[in-house]
């Protein structure tokens, strides 16, 4: 085993601050660098990085695709990254899983430019390696290094930490620690929220514990523990479940968040609601088990319409999709259309480019729907199936509600008619008309029922329509040319595309990601687009829409996993209660606040969605439903990445409003710079994870992220276990200090410990290696290779004994785990995903709905109005329902759109100079020549971008610095006139872009990182809320595309 300090970087390294990467190895700065060669070495060239013993297979995380990669190690350092040939995302077709890793070392897979540049994230000279504590005011960027354990002690115990008065520590926040008590209180608090028990009853029952509540007058808001908020940006499976174990189970807080609403949440919610299944248990029915994501099967498709996305940039994701699409375009009869105001790389290769007005994707869908209905080009047979039995008999794996009857009240569809309501069946059964006569429908029954598509009638005085009739009504609400007019595109194009879409049977699909949904009408747009897929009944068909191959279950919940980490293995786990601070997954009407205040609520509640990133800080600031005492920000930079995130700078800068704020970050970032403490984190090349795979991949795939090289962060000793400082170490240390369950000794059932990261992650690997009991075991040779490939790790990182202990099983399990780790995961062979033609092997087999009863039954908690069960095109609105006027351009206004250059991630790639500097060193504002000519603007003119929400085009860091949102202009043809767009990943004010002071030393920032602007700071703030961007009230998506701007030339 080697010593990490011997993995020297360079003799040219020089010391700046011991907190920053420069001082990784104390002895190395005068020594000979590891990369220097001796005479002997030069003579015998060996291509070291291609040797099997120098490769570790893992998973990327430059974006959420988390493609499988191979890390090629050179002298103990990461020398090169390439694609993993075992992975279906990174080779087409991928090599068989049984291939020896020695052979696989000879084959490199593909990986995108961001993935290729990952080494520059790992060895970013601005990475922090020691814990930093602020020395000045928040955001001043003056820091001191502090011992890890001292920092943990301070955040746990609180005190006068900054000379600003006493600060509450975690011990004063995490006050409900008794699992039995928490369980009882949770049940009674929920009952109180719903008005089932009285406040007095609750208070007398828990008289001794009222001090544990946020507000004893509102016990249904939950325990004080909820005031601990875990806010994660990019977090993935493995780490996510550990975070929930910590936040929910150990800390007893209901506030664990991912960043999904600033990504594409309404797309997921749209799919989830439209595909929720009707599950009947014990005579009660429930909507559950929907799929939140589907993708076209590009390998067999003949036509795909991309709405606001493409196959070659961003999306989920380009590395696996691109070749499928290019092969199909060149070698097959594949066609495509792209609906996007910007001419993307995909649009450039498409048969149709439809530059719609931003926010009108749903209108385009409804125009198509109208034409498809009028020309009867929908799949009548598939849509007439009213039971799964009928669907099966018709050769379908899915059915829809097209023929089911929906009750109409005050002209609005409200609920499916139940058979019991007209006396023909049970209340778990629906009703359809068969030749004009009502027939009960047991979705899962044996009876094949085929219903009438068109019904508009009354039964026993109840006004009903079929779901399909409701679609017809909506589609017919505007003439075709009026739908086209909303989009600002020719009606001819709409007809051509509708015709093409319905000319390929099941081998066509509608694909979308964030473009159509990061609007206030996002959920409705998503569902409108899904209707198109439902009209041709393409789900599960080869060439249609697929759910993807799925994965082996690392949580051990299915098919013989070793450790069930979902339902068990957390003795002493705390029950959570009270709404999350974002009020997500919570129904306003189920809480005492509703009974007291009614409508409008102070802020919206979101029963259908979760991970509403932009609500976290805004709600904390408004203290609705309660304030945040302790914010733990991990791998996220909301102030930069949220639309108008800069408005939250005021909140996070104020210790009176936000008493304690810690961050886990690899650098001092735009948001972590406002923290009280920054705990250095490990990059994805130094740590573990079990990421899932895009449904674009039809193969079952379980990727494993594992350390490729030792971490550059400081090593710490937590109860005798040495580990690098990172998120896991912070969890373990806090849990130890507070005596929390689920960590430390006896963390799992059977007394197994969780005292270092491997104790968690290797159990996940063990689960997916053991599932199905059919994985080969690594041979002695493979084990030898496994150990040799890890010879550059110090023993604290890697020892066979410690790994075996963490896995906790027999020799067979150990060998299976090695088999998986040697291949960077577990993958289904290429041929095995296509054994069920004409269907995909992995099938949804469910119930797709036009009418979403769930949504129709809930209300906007500001207006008190019900949402629509049938999706529709809706103009852009504030949370209070008032229109914003986005659609009409006045004077010299333009609509601002955004996109991502293929080589950039949103907030974490600015240090990847290979991409940024070689490809596009600065951001530009793309503008159509027509608009540029009108304004007298030319290429490379400097401009500032102004909006109603940010009339000065400025970011005020509240530390004396104000930054102008400015950019050069690029005049192009490939964008809709009236729309301007900018890529996302520029405009940094931290992350190495600025000077910081650490221990009295100034670390100079790099100008290359701050050039040009990020468009987010000028985006529209909801005037009815004042501290948050426009937001979809149903899906929760943050609006990135609903801002009007003016462009001012700078001299």
């Amino acid at each position: 085993m080697s010593d990490i300090t011997k993995n020297k970087f360079s003799r040219r390294s020089f010391l700046k601050s011991s907190a920053i990467l420069g001082a990784v190895a104390g002895g190395s700065i005068t020594g000979v660098g590891a990369f220097a060669m001796s005479e002997e070495e030069k003579k015998k060239f060996q291509y070291e990085i291609q040797k099997p013993e120098n490769q570790i297979f893992s998973a990327c995380l430059q974006c959420h695709n988390a493609c499988s990669i191979k890390g090629k190690v050179y002298n103990g350092l990461l020398g090169k990254i390439d694609g993993n040939p075992y992975g279906p995302q990174t080779m087409l077709p991928h090599i068989d899983y049984k291939t020896s890793p020695k052979d696989a070392a000879l084959v490199d897979g593909k990986i995108c430019p961001k993935g290729q540049a990952g080494i520059q994230t790992l060895y970013d000279p601005y990475r922090i390696k020691k814990v930093l504590k602020r020395k000045g005011k928040r955001g001043e960027n003056k820091w001191e290094t502090i011992d890890f354990h001292k920092a943990i002690d301070e955040i746990v115990n609180g005190g006068n930490l900054f000379g600003e008065g006493k600060v509450k520590g975690l011990k004063d926040i995490i006050v409900l620690k008794d699992a039995d008590l928490a369980k009882k209180m949770a049940a009674d608090a929920k009952a109180y929220g719903k008005g089932k028990i009285s406040l007095d009853e609750f208070k007398s029952k828990y008289a001794n514990h009222l001090d544990k509540l946020i507000d004893p007058e509102h016990p249904d808001l939950g325990p004080k523990n909820n005031k601990f908020v875990m806010m994660c940006g990019r977090i993935e499976h493995g780490r996510k479940e550990l975070g929930k174990r910590f936040t929910h189970g150990a800390m007893g807080s209901n506030n664990f968040f991912e960043h999904t609403s600033i990504c594409e949440q309404s797309h997921h919610i749209g799919y989830n609601e439209a595909s929720n299944k009707w599950v009947v248990t014990d005579g009660k029915g429930k909507w559950t088990g929907g799929k939140h994501h589907m993708k076209p099967d590009f390998l067999h498709s003949e036509f795909v319409i991309f709405f606001g996305t493409g196959a070659f940039e961003a999306n989920f994701g380009k590395t696996s999709m691109s070749q499928k699409v290019t092969d199909a375009l060149v070698d097959r009869n594949f066609k495509m259309a792209v609906v996007d105001p910007r001419m993307s790389q995909t649009a450039a290769k498409a048969d149709w480019w439809v530059p719609v007005k931003p926010g009108t994707d749903a209108a385009f869908a409804w125009g198509m729907i109208r034409w498809i209905i009028e020309n009867e080009r929908f799949d009548k047979k598939a849509l007439s199936c009213a039971t799964m039995a009928a669907a099966k008999a018709s050769g379908e794996t899915t059915m829809t509600d097209a023929t089911l009857l929906v009750k109409i009240e005050d002209g609005k569809p409200v609920k499916f008619l139940r058979a019991s309501e007209i006396g023909i069946g049970k209340d778990t059964e629906f009703v359809t008309m068969v030749n004009g006569k009502p027939v009960k429908v047991d979705i899962h029954g044996e009876k094949e029922v085929y219903g009438d598509l068109i019904t508009d009638t009354s039964i026993k005085g109840i006004k009903v329509k079929s779901s399909f009739q409701l679609i017809v009504d909506e589609a017919m609400s505007k003439p075709l040319n009026a739908w086209a007019e909303v989009c600002g595109t020719p009606v001819k194009q709409m007809i051509e595309i509708a015709k093409e879409f319905t000319s390929h049977g099941k081998k066509a699909g509608v694909e979308f990601y964030r473009g159509p949904v990061q609007h206030t009408n996002g959920y409705y747009a998503a569902v409108s687009l899904i209707y198109l897929n439902m009209l041709i009944g393409n789900t599960d068909w080869l060439g249609g829409m697929q759910i993807g191959g799925g994965h082996w279950h690392e949580d051990g919940s299915k098919h013989g996993g070793v450790y069930n980490l979902k339902k068990a293995n957390h003795p002493g786990k705390l029950a959570n209660f009270g709404p999350p601070v974002t009020r997500e997954k919570s129904r306003y009407e189920d809480f005492s606040l509703f009974r007291e205040n009614g409508y409008p609520a102070k802020r919206n509640w979101y029963p259908h969605t979760g991970n509403i990133y932009q609500e976290i800080l805004a709600s904390g600031q408004d203290e609705y439903p309660y304030g945040i005492d302790f914010l733990f920000l991990h791998k996220g930079t909301p102030l930069l990445s949220m639309p108008g995130g800069n408005v939250s700078i005021e909140y996070v800068s104020d210790p009176k409003k936000l008493p304690l704020f810690i961050a886990s970050d690899i650098v001092i970032g735009e948001s972590s710079m406002f923290a009280d403490y920054i705990f250095p984190d490990t990059t994805y090349m130094e740590r573990w994870g079990t990421p899932h795979t895009t449904p674009d991949v039809a193969h079952k795939a379980s990727k494993v992220r594992q350390p490729i090289v030792p971490s550059i962060t400081e090593m710490v000793d937590v109860n005798g276990e040495k580990m690098p400082v990172n998120l896991e170490a912070v969890y373990i240390a806090i849990a130890d200090k507070l005596g929390l369950s689920g960590f430390g000794k006896n963390a799992f059932d059977n007394g197994l410990p969780l005292t270092r990261p491997e104790d968690w992650y290797l159990k996940l690997v063990a689960n997916l290696a053991q599932e199905g009991d059919d994985l080969p075991e690594a041979t002695d040779d493979e084990i030898k290779l496994f150990v040799e490939a890890r010879r550059h790790f110090p023993k604290e990182y890697f020892s066979v004994e410690r790994y075996k202990k963490a896995i906790g099983g027999d020799d067979k399990l150990w060998r299976r785990v090695v088999y998986v780790l040697n291949r960077g995961g577990r993958y289904q062979d290429y041929k095995d995903a296509y054994k069920s033609a004409p269907y995909n092997k992995a099938q949804y087999k469910g119930f797709m709905k036009f009418f979403v009863e769930n949504v129709a039954q809930s209300k906007n908690s500001i207006t008190g109005n019900n949402f629509n069960g049938i999706a529709a095109y809706e103009v852009i609105k504030q949370m209070d329902g008032k229109t914003t006027g986005f659609e009409k351009l006045n004077g010299d206004e333009l609509q601002m759109s955004t996109f991502k250059e293929v080589f950039g991630g949103q907030s974490r790639t600015i240090g990847n100079y290979w991409t940024q500097q070689s490809l596009n060193p600065e951001n530009v504002l793309y503008m159509n020549k027509i608009d540029a000519d009108k304004r007298g603007l030319k290429d490379n003119d400097w401009v500032t971008v102004l909006s109603e929400s940010n009339p000065k085009g400025e970011i005020d860091l509240k530390n004396g610095t104000k930054i102008q949102v400015k950019s050069r202009v690029r005049v192009i043809q490939g964008i809709r006139p009236g729309v301007v767009t900018m890529s996302w990943h520029f405009g940094h004010w931290a992350y190495g872009a600025n000077d910081v002071e650490i221990d009295g030393l100034t670390i100079k920032g790099d100008d290359r990182r701050k050039d040009s602007a990020c468009p987010n700071p000028v985006m529209t703030i909801d005037k009815s809320l004042k501290n948050m961007c426009l937001t979809d009230p149903i899906g929760g998506s943050a609006s990135y595309y609903n801002t009007k701007v003016t462009i001012k030339k700078l001299s």
Binding site: F35, Y47, D82, L106, G115, T319, T346, K831, I975
Partner: protein, 293 residues
């Protein structure tokens, strides 16, 4: 190193298999390339003789694995019997620049040096617009205008068609840069991406493996610094039976590569069957990089 530059230079040239010295001195590297198909340095790989494509069960074709087999087959032949060529299908190039970055990373290129740029053009007028992406590696011309102008013979075409630069001979005069009609050649000014940052980054320190050697940036006289640099078709990877980085990492599957002299190779079929063209045909350079449009 650097003590006897002349001798080293000779070794270098022979290593490249050049005819300049009549092949009189066979360095171990050359014999390796000539006699064994894959560098025996890559330890413990038993089944090199097998087809890489067999790593894939079933009847599926993986064009990259096939081309890798093509490379291995070609490497079994003497250098003068193979002729490396590349074809780029612009219909499949998605403009992602994975090749650009992979090449920079593989060859440890400093700022200002990009062996594989992708030129992006916008064509047409709104709303009839399209984009064209043109990756531009070295054309590895049959008649390279760049080599003739070199006053010290530091740049030349190898027997296998790859146009190379001998870093130990190059005097940095940059005549070749002017002579290249494709503006491919670049001068290494000795910069690093992490210059001026709080620490020198490890990615700036990893040696380049060009021409099967470890070129550090520690010492001006023993590094590519001050030399003209160019794409090598990843000659060091070919030696190991691997495709050039730009080909393996291409997410659009737009690249074809192999031995034009091998009628069974993918590249030979692509170049003969598809309608290929070359850049600046009128210069008579006879590029070995073909484009499919």
């Amino acid at each position: 190193m650097g003590k006897n530059k002349k001798e080293n230079r000779r070794n270098f040239l022979s290593m490249l298999g050049t005819a300049a010295l009549g092949g009189a001195i066979l360095s171990p590297v050359l014999s390796k390339a000539a006699n064994t198909a894959l560098s025996s340095n890559v330890t413990e790989i038993k089944n090199f003789e097998g087809r890489i494509e067999d790593f894939l069960g079933g009847d599926y074709t993986n064009i990259k694995l096939r081309m890798q087999d093509d490379v291995r087959r070609a490497m079994k032949k003497p250098a003068k019997e193979r002729k490396w060529a590349m074809a780029i299908d612009l219909r499949k190039c998605v403009g992602c620049n994975a090749c650009t970055v992979a090449c920079i990373s593989e060859n440890a290129l400093p700022p200002g040096i990009v062996y594989r740029p992708v030129i992006k053009d916008e064509i047409g007028t709104y709303p009839n617009v399209s984009k064209r992406n043109t990756p531009k590696p070295c054309m590895h011309c049959e008649n390279p205008p760049c080599t003739d102008v070199c006053p010290v013979g530091a740049t030349f075409k190898r027997e296998d068609g790859i146009v190379v630069v001998d870093y130990e001979a190059c005097i940095g005069c940059r005549y070749c840069m002017t002579a290249c009609p494709y503006e491919h050649r670049m001068f290494d000014f000795g910069e690093h991406y992490s210059d001026g940052l709080p620490a020198v980054a490890a990615y700036d320190e990893r040696p380049s493996f060009e021409y099967e050697k470890e070129w550090t940036r520690e010492n001006k006289h023993d590094s590519p610094i001050g030399n003209v640099r160019k794409c090598t078709f990843c000659a060091h990877r070919l030696e190991e039976g691997l495709l050039p980085e730009c080909v393996t990492t291409c997410i659009g599957g737009a690249n074809y590569f192999g031995d034009l002299n091998d009628p069974d190779s993918v590249i030979a079929k692509v170049v003969s069957k598809l309608n290929v063209s070359v850049l600046k045909e009128e210069f008579g350079t006879e590029p070995k990089v073909f484009y499919i449009t």
